[in-house]
Symmetry: C2
Subunit: 176 residues, 2 copies
């Protein structure tokens, strides 16, 4: 059965839970027989964005390239799950404008909690000044002004946040 | 009806007829109800490759990014028609290795004929030294050592070349 494509775009701080949550939703959609692609930093770095760093300009360029890929996949019936910090409202608006079926998920989590998790020790390095332009430390994160779905990963389990997203997709008519 | 995705990759000199031919095949596939995406320099320059020039390194990076997009589309049931000079066998081999259903079309045409066509006056500029690294003039074009389909646009009409490609696709089982 054919389903309508869309892009579920996860924005949020490092360690807010974007990747885990996007993976969990992806697994669920696959079980429903939907076509699914995951896009995140690790997936695109090698082939699409290896030249880019963490300046505002480079971050925008990163999102621009990913948006192009998500747009083409979405309009061909693929459910795209993109997880990127994507910290600026301007570039989020760009993606929304480019991609026909764009759904922004704000993975909300206080920076204190993110920093406690610090899965890869990046916050510690940023605090020590070893990493520059780190979002939330010495680089801004703008709260999304147009999130379609908000999950709060400091208060909800992965399973709970996942259900909130799936329920929203169902309401919007995107689920098989 | 669902069909198997693939990437038809057109390689050849500037003005060999890649774009016209890829467009013609795309139109035919669309009429059959297939999902089709065209990728070429003009389409990807703005969103994917705006930072790249014409050095060997930049050309390879260009093809690498496009290959990533073509791979994701192909494996989700899209017929991708990519037209790029892509002058080196090494990078063509990279694309073939990355993309599951990769079909290389060599759009063969003597450089003398391409230069006579010179649609955008690029050959004239390259001869005058105003453009550097122009394929066939001061930059190499390696004849493909693994073309799946060869068309000769100095001897065939667009319609004839198109039919050769469609017949080959049909034989390979890619047509609806």
């Amino acid at each position: 059965m054919e389903h309508k494509g869309f892009t579920l775009w996860f924005t949020g701080l490092a360690c807010s839970g974007k990747t885990v949550l996007a993976d969990a939703v992806a697994e669920d959609l696959k079980k429903r027989g939907m076509k699914v692609e995951r896009l995140d930093g690790d997936i695109v770095r090698e082939s699409l964005t290896s030249d880019l760093g963490f300046s505002e300009e480079d971050r925008n360029e990163n999102i621009k390239r990913v948006t192009f890929v998500a747009k083409l996949l979405s309009r061909n019936g693929v459910a795209v799950l993109a997880s990127f910090i994507s910290p600026y409202n301007k570039i989020r608006a760009y993606s929304r404008n480019e991609i026909d079926d764009y759904i922004l998920v704000y993975v909300k989590c206080p920076i204190k909690v993110c920093e406690q998790r610090d899965v890869k020790g990046m916050y510690a390095k940023a605090r020590a000044g070893e990493i520059k332009n780190f979002t939330g430390i010495d680089h801004p994160f703008e709260e999304p002004n147009h999130a379609d779905i908000i999950v709060e990963t400091d208060k909800q389990s992965v399973e709970e946040s996942k259900q909130i997203i799936l329920n929203a997709l169902e309401k919007m008519g995107y689920l098989l």
